[in-house]
Amino acid sequence: MHEMSLAEGVLQIVEDTAKREGARRVSLVVLEIGKLSTVVPEALSFCFEAVTRGSVAEGARLEWVELPGQAYCMQCEQAVPLEAVYDPCPQCGSGQLQLIQGNEMRVKEMQIEQ
């Protein structure tokens, strides 16, 4: 996986925010990771530790909130839970699904010290 690039993406956002907020140190970074996204949070966490060395976020804790998969089923005309991106609708078996949640890879918030 490409978690190293993603970790660098996280660090970029964290550093930009830290600079804007005048942070002396970043102690916690919280991510929102969709269950169906292309990221393995544990691997990202490992890479995050590596890329933050020597930065304002050195030693910061990385936490993540997992967002479950959810899709809109055209047949059922309602939102249904989705375990995997290529799964059919768990209610009617249709493949006509529009993903509404689960693809997220976001930096949600962070804790800074000033």
Partner: protein, 320 residues
């Protein structure tokens, strides 16, 4: 370097020259008093940094002068900052810039993705030869090392530029933006981007292309789309390559197509052989149609048509 996949940064080379990606990370250092701060550049100074902690300019250390006026000894003031920003937002911004530039110039850009050894470069060479100058084509080649692929493309007479990602496992939009600038493809042309051979990482990185085209060869497993669903879900077209070898293999075409469509019901499929040219009529027609649409959109935009929407081709919005 990432121990998970081996990707890394700082080793990107375009045609052997280090890409102009300066490390903008500030130099961060810790002082004897424990305060840490960052400089965007290095400089000499003879004042003390103690006031950083107290910010009162007196040189004294005071941790109670922040917004919360807390006086707990040894505790600095922490607060949460809401961000809500996509991790890939930087890449996506570069991708949108690339997309806008390509659309403005009527360039139809395709991002070709597959495992190593699926026959991407051979397919590109054959495609350029078959187009035979009827559609000007330029190529961006992505590989970890060597300029071999770009040289193979140049042998056809087409202009090509090689990006070496070093330890990186995918092309990103910034690399492609740099390459487009150097390659400078002509207006109303076809731009083929051959991504690093990898069925995982390139799926997440939008380069600003009109379509991702996944290549699956019949020497691979039929269930590959199920094993690597992200890539087949991100693609709009799948080329099933090397079909000339089918008589010698136990590859089940129907099973492979069913797997691909299970992952992405909107996926178009064309069966081809880059060796014999089978299926090329359909593949070239698909390319010409896309290129003609890009050219038309540019012409309409140039004439200031108000009905034209400069958005991405509506074609096939992948699920999600």
């Amino acid at each position: 370097m990432c121990n998970v996949c081996g990707c890394g940064s700082g080793e990107i080379r375009i045609e052997g020259v280090a890409a102009g990606q300066a490390d903008l990370r500030p130099t961060v250092h810790r002082h004897a008093d424990g305060s840490v701060h960052a400089h965007d550049h290095s400089h000499d100074h003879d004042h003390s940094h103690a006031q950083i902690a107290g910010r009162d300019g007196s040189g004294d250390l005071h941790f109670g002068h922040g917004p919360a006026h807390a006086h707990a000894p040894g505790l600095s003031q922490a607060r949460m900052v809401q961000i809500e920003q996509d991790i890939l937002s930087k890449n996506d911004r570069y991708a949108e810039t690339n997309r806008g530039q390509l659309q403005q110039r009527g360039i139809f850009a395709i991002n070709l993705v597959s495992s190593p050894g699926s026959g991407k470069t051979t397919l590109l060479v054959r495609t350029i030869e078959a187009l035979g100058g009827s559609l000007t084509t330029t190529v961006i080649e992505g590989d970890q090392q060597t300029t071999n692929d770009a040289e193979r493309i140049r042998a056809t007479g087409a202009r090509a530029i090689q990006i070496n990602t070093g330890k990186g496992c995918h092309l990103d939009a910034q690399m492609v933006g740099d390459a487009i600038e150097r390659l400078n493809p002509p207006d109303d042309s076809l731009l083929l981007i051959e991504n690093v051979g990898n069925l995982v990482c390139p799926a997440s990185f939008d380069l600003g292309e009109a379509h991702k085209v996944a290549i699956l060869s019949v020497t691979e497993g039929e269930d590959k789309p199920l094993k690597y669903p992200d890539m087949f879900r991100a693609a709009d077209l799948m080329l099933l390559n090397k079909i000339d070898l089918l008589p010698y293999l136990s590859f089940d075409v129907e099973r492979a197509l069913a797997a691909a469509l299970q992952v992405n019901p909107r996926l178009q499929v064309i069966q081809v052989s880059a060796t014999t040219g089978a299926g090329f009529d359909e593949w070239l027609a698909w390319l010409r149609q896309g290129a003609a649409a890009s050219c038309r959109q540019r012409a309409q935009a140039d004439h200031g048509s108000t009905t034209f929407s400069a958005g991405r081709e509506p074609a096939v919005a992948a699920q999600g």
